[in-house]
């Protein structure tokens, strides 16, 4: 048989560029993080500029560290390792550059549009629809480039790192597309095609699995390449790789509803989210075990080699976070932790510890290889980075854990008379201030570490040769003729008399079939697709098809045209980053906020705005709770009504004119999604004007200023005053806006 030997080289230039982008955006994302953390202790730090307020910059921080820092790091790591693991150059240099520049353009578009208040409000999916389409296209470019490599590989079997990359590419595409389906109303505005409960479900199916398939599986893939490379030790267990890979990707998908415990999501979904999260514990720890036990016998090296220490801390934090995750998803624990900083501490343990340290370790390992210098510029600086970043993580995570538990306990505390011990919400915020300061210090240390890393990488780059060498490798092409190794059967060898089913069982449990899949990447990818799609459908189909999930409430009617505009302002300002709109069925919540939220109340909420963190109080029952004048004063200067408030001022809403031009298009978009608008579609602008005039008059009557009928703040007040009031309306009267807000019987409000 004549085997043809082929010659090829690797494209490290694209890896260098992605590495540079990782460093740059990492610094930007972390800097914005420190800035918003500072705003929580010094709210005036937004400098009175609307573009710098917490609600607009917090999404910029999360998007930057997830999609700019982490994703670029993943792309760098994937391109470097895949070429070598598959013994082939990237599929197409042109696609690689399209991928690179396309992705950077998306990041720049995000960095501009988010401070401008252009967002869809859904967490980690804030970017508006044109950017979403660009993300999908660039992701397809990445997928073609990657699977092209897989198909023209010169390595018969695909290594476990490649499995994880495959799962990432397939699943992220699915999550991104289905969560972002929306109807545009202009270039910079769209409405989610889902509403209320279903939108919440889709969002957290996406949100949880974005953590799973952007912050977990690709990083595990990187771990399986860079950790054994750096340690020069064999991976601990191949069969553990198989088991934890498949169980992880299948079980992960189900766990999303744990973000919606005690909300109006039906309880069966909540229960599934919880039990699958608990089942996810061991599959996650499989990765930790394989990482840590690979270092058995190499602990001496860990002491000497800072890169390995980065990896050890990363894997340890992975283990910690994947224990904490299932713990937080247990309903009774979640009752305490939800809406508090405990969740923030949890994600930062994962992000700073696991993701950050894996990527920094990888950068340090790659830099001398990519820039073809003997060593990193300064090992000492790597050491320093390791220590200050480690201290930074502890100083960040520990106080924020304490903050979360403190505030959770304060919210639920009753005195002997059965009344809230801390009825004033802001009192529970004040208690957190020392911990918020500690977080600023911890985050700044972590950022300082990243600066050292950038300096070190740049200095290493400065020592690069005048011309990079491009070594040429040789390997035989794969031939179609291949015989799998004969299956080994201990049963047959032992000669025991057993039923046929025992042989079948042996074949499955011995995992020998998997070896065959590893040389058939198309089959392998198909199985990955089946696993993640089927797991999704088990929950999605009943959520959308079973009507009893969302019992209809007769008095719930669509928002008026003015309220739609107010809701859009609420979304643009990112109010949902600090205020939830979902009162849980617990007495301390109903006592503080009012009747708990019902599924039928958010059927016209495109998108849902339930929120995930209460930096300020819940707003679902704020409608009718305060006078218009109170809202006006409070939005103008929150500290005039609540002296210790840390909310930024929204005075610009009082200055800016309310533009009604966009309104008809927005109402049509909502109507196309099934919102029953009728008169609104032809007279929307007049209706909005009339309602604004009415509110402006009422503000004057209450002793406020005149002339607010054409100001944006009036639309926002209209929306806030409507929130959560439909449940208590008398069913006979159809006209929503005119009715006095009264009658609070809740027992018979739901069907």
């Amino acid at each position: 048989m004549n085997v043809q030997v082929e010659r090829f080289s690797y494209d490290d230039r694209i890896v260098r560029w992605f590495l540079g982008a990782t460093m740059l955006w990492g610094l930007v994302g972390m800097l914005v993080g420190v800035f918003v953390a500072l705003q929580l202790v010094l709210p005036e730090l937004n400098l009175g500029i609307e573009y710098f307020s917490f609600g607009r910059l917090r999404p910029l921080h999360t998007n930057a560290v997830i999609f700019a820092f982490t994703a670029n790091g993943i792309f760098a790591g994937v391109y470097y390792s895949s070429q070598r693991l598959l013994k082939t150059r990237t599929f197409s240099d042109a696609l690689s550059w399209l991928h690179f520049w396309g992705w950077q353009a998306i990041i720049v578009a995000a960095a501009i549009s988010l401070p401008l208040g252009l967002n869809q409000s859904k967490e980690y999916a804030e970017l508006e629809w044109p950017i979403d389409i660009a993300i999908a296209l660039v992701w397809v470019v990445f997928a073609v480039n990657f699977f092209g490599m897989v198909l023209k590989r010169r390595e018969r079997h695909i290594y476990v790192a490649i499995w994880f990359y495959i799962a990432t590419i397939i699943t992220i595409a699915m999550l991104h597309i289905f969560n972002n389906l929306s109807v545009p109303a202009g270039w910079f505005k769209s409405y989610s095609i889902y509403a209320g409960v279903q939108d919440a479900f889709m969002q957290w199916w996406y949100g949880h699995n974005a953590v799973g398939f952007l912050l977990t599986t690709p990083i595990l893939g990187l771990m399986y390449y860079y950790l054994p490379k750096a340690a020069q030790r064999p991976v601990y267990s191949y069969r553990l790789s198989i088991l934890h890979f498949w169980s992880l990707i299948f079980i992960y998908i189900w766990a999303g509803p744990h973000h919606l415990h005690y909300t109006s999501l039906p309880e069966w979904a909540s229960t599934l989210g919880m039990v699958f999260s608990v089942m996810l514990w061991m599959p996650s720890w499989g990765g930790m075990i394989n990482g840590l036990l690979t270092l058995r016998g190499a602990w001496g090296k860990v002491v000497e080699e800072p890169i390995l220490r980065f990896f050890v801390v990363a894997v340890t934090f992975y283990g910690l976070s994947t224990f904490e995750g299932p713990l937080l998803s247990v309903k009774s624990v979640n009752a305490l932790s939800h809406y508090t900083d405990w969740t923030i501490a949890h994600v930062h343990g994962g992000a700073l510890g696991w993701v950050g340290f894996m990527i920094f370790g990888m950068i340090y390992w790659l830099a001398p290889r990519l820039y073809q210098t003997k060593e990193i510029w300064s090992r000492k600086l790597v050491e320093t980075h390791f220590w200050i970043a480690s201290i930074g993580i502890v100083l960040y995570v520990a106080p924020i854990w304490a903050a979360g538990i403190t505030q959770g306990l304060m919210w639920r505390a009753f005195d002997e008379g059965g009344r809230l011990m801390y009825p004033d919400f802001v009192e529970t915020v004040m208690r957190l201030m020392p911990m918020y300061w500690a977080r600023v210090v911890g985050g700044s240390l972590y950022l300082a570490g990243a600066v050292l890393c950038a300096v070190n990488v740049l200095a290493t780059r400065a020592q690069r040769p005048a011309r990079y060498e491009e070594p040429v490798y040789e390997a035989p092409a794969l031939t179609p003729a291949y015989q799998d190794a004969p299956a080994v059967s201990y049963l047959r060898e032992s000669g025991a008399h057993v039923a046929r089913v025992a042989y079948l069982l042996e074949r499955v449990t011995s995992l020998q079939f998997h070896r065959r899949w590893e040389r058939l990447p198309v089959v392998f990818s198909a199985w990955v697709g089946i696993a993640v799609v089927s797991a999704s459908l088990f929950e999605i189909v009943p959520t959308f098809l079973i009507r009893s999930n969302v019992p209809t409430i007769a008095t719930v009617t669509p928002y008026t045209p003015l309220e739609v505009l107010g809701r859009d302002i609420y979304i643009a300002e990112g109010c949902n980053n600090c205020h939830s709109q979902q009162v849980r069925p617990m007495r301390h919540e109903t006592e503080r906020y009012g009747e708990y939220s019902k599924a039928g109340e958010s059927v016209y909420d495109h998108p849902f705005l339930w929120g995930s963190r209460r930096i300020g109080p819940d707003l679902h029952r704020v409608g009718g709770k305060y006078s218009h004048l109170w809202h006006l004063r409070h939005l103008d200067d929150p500290r005039s009504t609540t002296p210790q408030s840390i909310m930024p001022s929204y005075a610009h809403l009082i200055d800016q004119r309310l533009e009604l031009d966009e309104l008809p298009r927005r109402l049509r978009a909502l109507a196309s999604l099934g919102v029953p608008y009728d008169r609104e579609l032809t007279e929307g602008v007049e209706m909005a004007r009339a309602q604004a005039q009415r509110i402006a008059d009422e503000i004057v009557e209450q002793g406020g200023p005149e002339g607010l009928e054409n100001r944006r703040v009036t639309a926002l007040i209209a929306y806030l005053q409507r929130l959560g009031t439909d449940l208590f309306r008398e069913p006979e009267h159809p006209a929503p806006a005119e009715l006095p807000r009264q009658a609070r019987r809740t027992d018979d409000a739901t069907d």
Partner: protein, 218 residues
């Protein structure tokens, strides 16, 4: 899984220099994984098809217990009247309860010390809607919608409204930091007759409230 010991047997292949052992799965890992898998149907059956309490049931129990507590308090206080409210003003436990409600619901407009902000000053002798405790009770209960005062009867239980009325009554004559100028008419509080026949309401507490009355008004 015939091999149970960690033998560090290398697999035959390597990828870019990375070798793999085929060591067995740690036993504790396998057992814990099985435990979480088995716990799943047990949990679902117990809570969704068995005696376990779901979220709504737990909430209802919590609520019932509280309503019972409120009913007992209401029974002890007697039906609302000027006399009953005046007595509550002398009861430190009731005033402290009223203060908690005041902090939760009223300070946003009337300020923490009652000096007024968006809403009127509650510490002076001038009242917009009547200065009897029964008037204050009515103002709190029904609200003054045109002026932005909320009808708290829709959100607070009767005991809570009585307690916060008593607390507001007790603010009178205190000196707030930034008092809002007086609004409304001068009101002189009448001394309470011994037999309890006070303006604005009857003394006594013969009426026995039922549990429904302890809830926020329908």
């Amino acid at each position: 899984m015939s091999q149970r010991e960690v033998r560090d047997e290398l697999r035959e292949h390597e990828f870019d220099g990375i070798k793999e052992y085929d060591n067995p799965l740690p036993r504790w890992w396998v057992w814990l994984f099985w435990a979480t898998i088995i716990a799943t149907p047990v949990y679902i059956v117990y809570y969704h098809f068995g005696p376990g309490k779901l979220v709504a049931d737990e909430y209802q129990e919590e609520l019932d217990a509280y309503y019972e507590q409120q009913r007992q308090q209401l029974l002890a206080l007697g039906e609302v009247s000027e006399v009953v409210l005046r007595k509550m003003m002398e009861n430190p436990a009731m005033l402290s309860a009223g203060e908690k409600i005041f902090i939760a619901k009223c300070v946003q407009c009337h300020a923490r010390d009652g000096g007024g902000n968006i809403g009127p000053n509650l510490t002076d002798d001038y009242w917009l809607h009547g200065g009897n405790l029964m008037d204050i009770h009515r103002t709190i209960h029904d609200g003054v919608p045109t002026k932005g005062m909320i009808a708290w009867g829709n959100q607070l239980s009767e005991v809570d409204i009585m307690a916060v009325t008593a607390y507001v009554g007790s603010l009178r004559g205190t000196t707030p930091a930034n008092p809002k100028p007086p609004q409304g008419e001068l009101f002189v509080r009448q001394p309470l007759p011994e037999d309890g026949d006070a303006p604005g309401g009857e003394a006594g507490g013969e009426a026995v409230p039922d549990a429904a009355e302890a809830r926020p008004a329908a």
